[in-house]
C-alpha cells in the first residue's frame, strides 16, 4: 500500500524460551506445535517465523491476546530480548550484528519506547524524565530543558515540569512517557500497550493525541495492543498474532472485509463495522461520471457518516471524491452488505 522502502523489516524471526533453544528450534521448523513443544521438551515457543515489513512514517499495529507474543516481538526490535533465529533490519542494517556500543546508539537516538506501566524514574522531575534520552548522552538539564519543555507542552503538560511523576495521574504520566519518547528525536517509536493501563475516556484522548502527533511528525510507530478497536483506529498496517505466529497482516480495512481465518472472523464479529469501515473500502472504483448520484462523500468517510447522510435509503448512490477528484461511486446496497460479515464463512465461524 506504500511504495517507500520499509523502515523495519523482520525476517524469519524465531524466539524459543528454554534451556536448549537450538534443538527446540529444529523441532519447531519441522512443524511441532506450541503445546507439544511445551509438554515434550519444556520449551516455550514465543515467536514462530515472523515476517513483517513496517512502512516508514506509518503506524504498524501488532495485535493479539495475552500470550500471543506481541510484547516479546516488540522487545526484539531494540534487542531487549535476543532472538533465537532470524533477522531484524532497521534502515537496511541487521541490528543483530550490532556491537554493544552500536546498540546503545540505536536505543539512544534511533528508537524510543513507551511502556504500559509508564516506567518513569520516580526520583526525577517530569522535566528530567522527559529529557532522559539527551541526559543519557551526556547533556546537562540546561541544555535539554528547551526541547523537553517543547514536547511537554505539545502533549498538554504545560507548566508541570517541576512535578514528580507520583504527583500526576495515570493519563498525565503516560503523556510524560510520550514526551520522553519524542524528546529523543528518534524516527521510530515503540509503544508497548501504551494505553492499556488507562481508563477508557483517557485512552480515547491519548489515541487522538497520537493520531494528531502522527499527522504532524510521521514517525514510524510500532504499536502493541490487545484491543481491536484501538488497533483499527490507529493502524496503517495491522498484524494479528496468535500463539506466536502471524495469522493475518495487511491494511486494516482489508482484514475486516476479508478475514482469512476463523480466528479473525471471531475477532471482528463484535466490531461496529459502520464506524470502522471507510467509503474507499466498499466503493466501486471508477472515474466514469456516475448517473443519478444523490451527493458527494469523501473517500475517507466512515460508513456511519454516509448512512446518516442518506437517511437510511438503500437506493441512493454517491460520488466518492479524494481531494475534490472523483475516485469512485458508492452504492448504498454495497454499503449495507458490507455491514454484515460474509455469509458462508460467517457460518463456519459460528459453527
Amino acid at each position: 500500500m506504500t511504495d517507500t522502502t520499509p523502515k523495519i523489516s523482520i525476517r524469519g524471526l524465531y524466539k524459543i524460551f528454554g534451556n536448549d533453544p537450538e534443538t527446540a528450534l529444529q523441532r519447531v521448523k519441522d512443524g511441532i506445535g506450541k503445546a507439544e513443544l511445551l509438554s515434550e521438551t519444556n520449551h516455550v515457543l514465543g515467536l514462530n517465523d515472523i515476517n513483517v515489513d513496517m512502512p516508514t512514517g506509518k503506524t504498524t499495529v501488532i495485535m493479539g491476546l495475552s500470550g500471543s507474543g506481541k510484547s516479546t516481538l516488540i522487545r526484539h526490535l531494540n534487542r531487549l530480548i535476543e532472538p533465537t533465529a532470524g533477522e531484524i533490519l532497521v534502515d537496511g542494517d541487521n541490528i543483530l550484528d550490532y556491537s554493544a556500543r552500536q546498540l546503545r546508539d540505536l536505543r539512544q537516538h534511533r528508537m524510543s519506547m513507551v511502556f504500559q506501566k509508564f516506567a518513569l524514574l520516580p526520583h526525577r522531575t517530569v522535566l528530567e524524565n522527559t529529557g532522559l534520552a539527551p541526559s543519557i548522552s551526556g547533556q546537562r538539564p540546561k541544555a535539554y530543558a528547551a526541547e523537553a519543555t517543547k514536547w511537554l507542552d505539545r502533549v498538554g503538560l504545560e507548566g508541570q515540569g517541576n512535578q514528580y511523576p507520583a504527583q500526576l495521574s495515570g493519563g498525565m504520566q503516560q503523556r510524560v512517557g510520550i514526551a520522553r519518547a519524542l524528546t529523543s528525536n528518534s524516527d521510530i517509536m515503540l509503544m508497548d500497550e501504551a494505553f492499556s493501563a488507562l481508563d477508557p475516556l483517557i485512552r480515547t484522548d491519548m489515541q487522538n493525541l497520537l493520531i494528531e502527533l502522527q499527522n504532524e511528525l510521521q514517525k514510524t510507530v510500532v504499536f502493541i495492543t490487545h484491543d481491536l478497536d484501538e488497533a483499527l483506529k490507529l493502524a496503517d498496517h495491522l498484524v494479528i498474532l496468535k500463539d506466536g505466529f502471524i495469522v493475518q497482516q495487511g491494511e486494516p480495512q482489508q482484514i475486516l472485509l476479508h478475514p482469512n481465518d476463523p480466528y479473525i472472523e471471531d475477532f471482528v464479529a463484535d466490531i461496529n463495522r459502520a464506524r470502522v469501515l471507510r467509503v474507499r473500502s466498499v466503493m466501486e472504483k471508477t472515474t466514469a461520471p456516475a448517473e443519478g448520484v444523490s451527493g458527494e462523500v469523501d473517500h475517507d468517510d466512515t460508513l456511519e457518516n454516509v448512512i446518516e447522510a442518506s437517511g437510511g435509503d438503500t437506493n441512493k448512490h454517491y460520488k466518492v471524491t479524494r481531494d475534490g477528484e472523483q475516485v469512485g461511486v458508492l452504492h448504498m446496497r454495497d454499503l449495507v452488505r458490507a455491514l454484515v460479515p460474509r455469509g458462508p464463512s460467517a457460518e463456519t465461524a459460528s459453527h
Binding site: 531487549l80 511502556f115 518513569l120 526520583h123 534520552a133
Partner: protein, 342 residues
C-alpha cells in the same frame, strides 16, 4: 575395660594402638577381680563414640582437648604470616580511631554539643530532634560522663563510616551476581550469629591490646552485615519496568547503577545504615573488654566492682545515645522517603 575396645579388637587395629591399652585393660581386669565390681556397663549408659571415649579404648586416638589445642597451635603458627598482611591493611583504621578520639575529646564541650546539634538539624530538619540531642548530651555531661560519651561516639562514627564504605560496594556486587550473593550470604550469616566475644579472641592474638584497630575490626565485622544485606536487597527490589526503560533508552551499566539503581535503593540502604549504627553501639560496649574506651568501660566497672549505680547510669547513657542515633538516622530516612513518593 573401655566400651569401645571391641571396635579395635574386631578390626585388628589393636596392634596399631600399641600395648599400653592391653596393660590398661589388664589393670581394669585386676580392679574388677579384686573389687568384684560390675564391669559390664549397662546398655543404657553407653557413651557416644566421641574422641574421649575412643581414646579410652585406644591411645592413638587423640582426646578432644588435643583438637582445641591443635586449633590454637595452628592459629599461632599462621599468626605471624597473617600479621604481615593484615597489619598494614588495618593500620589506617588505628589512625582514624586515634584521631577521631583525639578530636572529639580535644574539642571543648561548648563547641562540640552545638556542632552535634547542627549535624542533627542538617540530617533531620526537625527542631524536636535537635532539642532531644541537646537534652541527652546535656544530661550525660551533667553527670560527668561527657568524655566517655564522646569516646563512644567517636568510635561509632569511624566504624559506621567504614562499614558503609565497604558494605555498600559489597552489597552492589551481590545484587549484580547471583554467584557472589551465594558466596557472601553464608559469611554474613556467620558474622551475625557468631557470639561477639568470639571475634575478640583471635584478634587479641593478632594485635596488641593497645592498638585501637583491635576493637575497630571487631565492631566493623559485627556491624557491617545489615548495610550489606539491605543494599543488596534494595537494588534487587528496584522496579524491573524502570530498569527496562533505562535499558530501552540506552543507558550504560554504570549510568544505570548511579542514576537509577542506587537512588531508588537509597531508602533501603539508609535503613541498613541505621541498623549498622545501632549494632556498632551494641558492640562498642562489648569491645570495652579489649580496651575500647567509652561508656562500655563504665559498664564493665559496674560489673567488675559490683558498683550498681555506675552500671545503671552508664547503661542508661548508652540507651539515650542509642535513642538519638536511631532518631537522627530515621529522620534522614524519612526525608529520603518523602523525596521519593512511590
Amino acid at each position: 575395660m573401655a566400651t569401645y575396645d571391641f571396635l579395635f579388637d574386631k578390626t585388628g587395629l589393636r596392634g596399631w594402638c600399641g600395648e599400653e591399652s592391653s596393660g590398661l585393660s589388664s589393670m581394669a581386669d585386676l580392679l574388677g577381680n579384686s573389687g568384684g565390681g560390675d564391669d559390664t556397663t549397662s546398655l543404657w549408659d553407653t557413651p557416644f563414640p566421641s574422641l574421649d571415649a575412643l581414646h579410652d579404648a585406644c591411645d592413638k586416638i587423640p582426646q578432644s582437648r588435643d583438637l582445641t589445642l591443635g586449633l590454637e597451635r595452628g592459629f599461632l603458627d599462621i599468626k605471624d604470616g597473617l600479621k604481615v598482611i593484615v597489619d598494614p591493611i588495618t593500620q589506617p583504621l588505628s589512625w582514624a580511631l586515634e584521631n577521631a578520639l583525639w578530636l572529639m575529646q580535644a574539642m571543648p564541650w561548648f563547641i562540640m554539643i552545638p556542632a552535634l546539634m547542627l549535624i542533627s538539624w542538617l540530617v533531620g530538619r526537625s527542631l524536636k530532634l535537635v532539642g532531644l540531642v541537646a537534652v541527652v548530651f546535656g544530661l550525660l555531661a551533667f553527670v560527668d560522663y561527657y568524655d566517655y560519651t564522646m569516646q563512644t561516639l567517636a568510635i561509632i562514627f569511624v566504624c559506621a563510616f567504614i562499614c558503609v564504605l565497604l558494605g555498600v560496594p559489597i552489597g552492589i556486587a551481590m545484587s549484580r551476581s547471583d554467584r557472589v550473593q551465594r558466596a557472601v550470604i553464608p559469611i554474613l550469616d556467620m558474622l551475625q550469629t557468631l557470639p561477639p566475644f568470639v571475634y575478640l579472641i583471635p584478634l587479641i592474638f593478632l594485635f596488641s591490646v593497645t592498638e585501637p584497630k583491635l576493637y575497630g575490626i571487631a565492631i566493623i565485622l559485627y556491624a557491617i552485615v545489615p548495610v550489606v544485606r539491605l543494599t543488596d536487597l534494595g537494588i534487587r527490589l528496584v522496579d524491573p519496568d524502570v530498569i527496562e526503560a533505562a535499558d530501552a533508552f540506552g543507558m550504560t551499566e554504570r549510568q544505570k547503577l548511579y542514576r537509577v539503581q542506587v537512588p531508588l535503593a537509597l531508602p533501603n540502604i539508609m535503613a541498613g545504615v541505621n541498623q549498622t549504627i545501632m549494632m556498632s553501639l551494641a558492640m562498642v560496649v562489648i569491645a570495652s573488654l579489649v580496651s575500647a574506651p567509652g561508656l562500655g568501660v563504665l559498664v564493665l566497672r559496674g560489673i567488675r566492682n559490683l558498683e550498681l549505680g555506675v552500671g545503671l547510669l552508664s547503661g542508661l547513657g548508652i540507651v539515650f545515645l542509642a535513642v538519638i542515633l536511631d532518631r537522627v538516622t530515621k529522620a534522614a530516612l524519612a526525608r529520603i522517603n518523602a523525596q521519593q513518593p512511590q
